[in-house]
């Protein structure tokens, strides 16, 4: 697909932000998303190319979000599409977690 992920040769996306002594992860949630990668694949619910395509289907949000958010978005999309979790139970869990912390 001629998606926003296909970046080679584009102009105007800004300077390269080089972080000295960069940590492997910047947030705890990034650790959890990374750590789920292999276990989620091991369920066999989808393959690596479906995963890549799910990232490419993010649309304009792709450019405004980080690498591990791309992974998260692909997990959400595919796990619901493949029926591993339902959109309703995922939404309900998010509401519970948001409410529980306020």
């Amino acid at each position: 697909m001629n998606g926003v992920h296909d970046l080679g040769g584009m102009h105007g996306l800004g300077p390269i932000d080089i972080e000295q002594d960069e940590p492997v992860f910047h947030h705890e949630w990034e650790r959890r998303v990374f750590g789920m990668f292999l276990p989620v694949f091991a369920t066999g619910a989808f393959n690596i190319d479906e995963f890549r395509h799910a990232i490419e289907r993010m649309g304009p949000k792709y450019l405004a979000t980080s690498y591990y958010e791309h992974w998260l978005a692909a997990f959400e999309t595919l796990l619901v599409e493949k029926g591993v979790i339902s959109a309703d139970e995922f939404a309900a869990r998010r509401v519970a977690l948001a409410g529980g912390m306020n």
Partner: protein
């Protein structure tokens, strides 16, 4: 690094917790496996592995020949195999040709030898521009190449994973493999830097 429990969770934190908790409850994800994977890639796998490969290639011409002919097998000799390094290609930079690696479509990167990629490697500015203006991008990393030198940009769009075998710097003839490995940076194996000897011209500031 633990979350401050007085602060509301961000949207992304809520989504991650929601997903992980549902998958754990369904018996599909074991949180101990998640913990073990995080620990491995945060603390055990990283660019020191690649530096070992480079230093050995500099010391041992027969190893270097094997590395350039079949990167996967030669890297496996040192024990750095596995996920996102299943099929490896090693590209040698020379005084005539400088090589640099990118993945314009996503952010493919050789995990067993270099660890997880830095943010800039995954970022839109690097991926968009290094293919069309490699010399300009290298300048942003402090590497200015002479006009007479050729630049080759390798875009890893498929399932091969690439790393650069950088040039061995002058003045390192008497060094041991361990001393050489200590000079080799992650950036030199991506190709956005050269390997320099501390105190000599060309060292990264």
């Amino acid at each position: 690094m633990s979350a401050n429990h007085n602060r509301p969770l961000s949207d992304v934190e809520i989504r991650v917790k929601a997903l992980e908790s549902l998958l754990v409850e369904k018996g599909l994800v074991d949180p101990a496996a998640v913990d073990a994977l995080i620990d491995t890639y945060e603390h055990k796998v990283g660019p020191r592995n690649g530096a070992h490969v480079v230093a050995k290639a500099w010391m041992d011409p027969a190893y270097k020949a094997r590395l350039l002919a079949d990167g996967t097998a030669a890297i496996a000799e040192l024990g750095y195999s596995g996920i996102q390094g299943e099929d490896m290609v090693v590209i040698e930079s020379t005084p005539e040709t400088h090589n640099v690696i990118v993945c314009t479509l996503c952010s493919c990167y050789p995990w067993p030898t270099l660890g997880l990629p830095p943010v800039w490697f995954k970022s839109a500015p690097y991926r968009s521009r290094v293919v069309s203006d490699p010399r300009g991008v290298l300048k942003e990393f402090g590497l200015e190449l002479p006009e007479k030198m050729q630049v080759r940009v390798w875009d890893s769009t498929a399932e091969l994973r690439y790393m650069v075998l950088p040039e061995r710097p002058a003045g390192t003839e008497g060094m041991t493999e361990e001393q050489l490995a200590a000079l080799v940076t992650r950036d030199s194996m991506i190709g956005v830097a050269r390997v320099a000897v501390p105190g000599q011209e060309g060292a990264r500031t």
